[in-house]
Amino acid sequence: MITLRQVVKSYSRGGETLVVLDHLDLTVADGQFCALMGPSGSGKSTLLNLVGGLDHADSGVVEVGGEDLTSMSNDELAGWRASSVGFVFQGFNLIPVLTAIENVTLPLLLAPLSGKQRREHAEYALELVGLKDRMHHRPGQLSGGQEQRVAIARALVTDPQLILADEPTGDLDRNSADQVLGLMQRLNSEMKKTIVMVTHDPAAAAHAGTLVHLDKGKLVRIEQQTPVSAGAR
């Protein structure tokens, strides 16, 4: 489903060009739960941003679900993100002035749905993450784990095939992290979502079926493993 061919991405900092992804080739099949691992600066988050259509590659091809993201304009990428991908970030990235259900409803504003349908979808997504009873709380009134579960509800409310998570447990305690990882495993095993998760944490990566190791913008190795169940440790 995800194919990267000879992808190069670099940034300019202080007059110097820093190559973050260096002619990278990678394929992630449909329905995989893939953990991207590597030291800081290895290009994990940059790779996630390119696969999520948040940024453009300097060269190479990024194909997701048969769509060539490298040939799309910014507006086309925005439209594609709205329908095809859900994001979960380390800092949760909920809009602080909106309640949980309003945050979850946001992506649905771009879908051809009535107000009633949007509300039903959002409530269902919050129910899936076990937070329907907190739907009128603002992010500031929720714990970190609850905020991240709201973010997961927002990521899946449009029913995208692909969910991208950037250090989703980085700001969470072990218990909350287990809950979030358990949710992601359910999305993968029960709803057949393809999940690509960036993480530094081997314990989090253990929940994925595929480990992709990056270093200095290059693919080091790919490992297949039997994922541990959430709460097993």
Binding site: D55, D75, G79, G91, N93, V97, L98, P107, L110
Partner: protein, 389 residues
Amino acid sequence: MVPFRVIWRNLFGHPVRSLLTAASLVVAMFLLCVLRSLVVTLDAGVTEARTDRLVVQSAASLFVTLPENYRGKVAAVEGVKHVCSWTWFGAYYQRRENFFAQFSTDQDTLLAMYPEMEIVAGDYERFRLNRNSCIVGEALVKSYGFKLGDKVPLIGTFIQRLDGQPWEFEVAAVYRSKAGTLDSGTLFFHHEFLKKAREEKLCTGEEGVNTYVVKVADGNDPITVASRIDSLFENGPQKVQTTTEAEFNAQFVSMIGNIPFFLSAIGSGVLFAIVMAVVNTMLMASREQTRAVGILKALGFTSTTVFLVFLLQAITLSLLGGGTGVALALATSDALRDALGTTFPNYVVSHDTVVVGLIVTVVVGLIAGLVPALKLAKLNPVNALRAEQ
């Protein structure tokens, strides 16, 4: 689709700051509307002047009186329908600070000459038939409490009774002015009354009248009629200058100096200051909402939508404050007119002023929101998501 809830909630993300900005907009737009209304009131004599009225004055100066017998001669000119004299009386009521305009006039033609004069109390006919009577504008009734039948004592300044007593006029009717060409803070009495007092040597002051106002008959060109009148007195005994009502009234606006310009300059200063204040608020808001913009973009909202979200936020804030200020100016229009008394008896916050106020409000929002909205719209979502929240 624009997420209006985000706009609304962002507005009150910092309620104290938003309310203070809105409050400053309330004050600024209220002041702007009041200042504009004062300028409009000052200019109304010119902008609302009728084209079918001419004013005949001495060619030498407005302060040189015209002979009494010119009335009949002007009335006989081809194209003239009515003639009505106006003579400045310049007295005060009880105390010098109670000063308002008084004119002696021709009671038979005054009402026909000024269709904008509406009698709202009493009887014009009673005024017409009683030489010692007067009619007063609504503003005088509000300022001094004049009632029908009251005898208004006026103490002359340059037209004084020789016996040292005040002049007295009985209030026969009250009028309302429906246009800026007629002041509702004026007292009119019979010119015949003044003429007789002068003939009988009961008072000081020169004989004659200050101006003759001419109503041009339908189908006649006012400029041609004005030329005929001027030609009639070309060889004296007193040369005249006939102008349109607008030209005549413009003399008075220029006499009071650059007050309209001064008021407009104050208004512009207020506007500039408030634009700076709202720009500052929106710049702070744009910094705080950078990450939220990143979130919206990551969710699939386009740069155009992000631009609209921020611009509408600025315009909504501006409308909340500015709109309230405009509404306040409109709501206090009558109370302010009463408070201004005979200084601005025709003060009113017009619909034009309301429309201008609302347009200015929207433009303030546009100016304040445009640059930060463009900046946010152009942001790369990855960079926006890295911003501090």
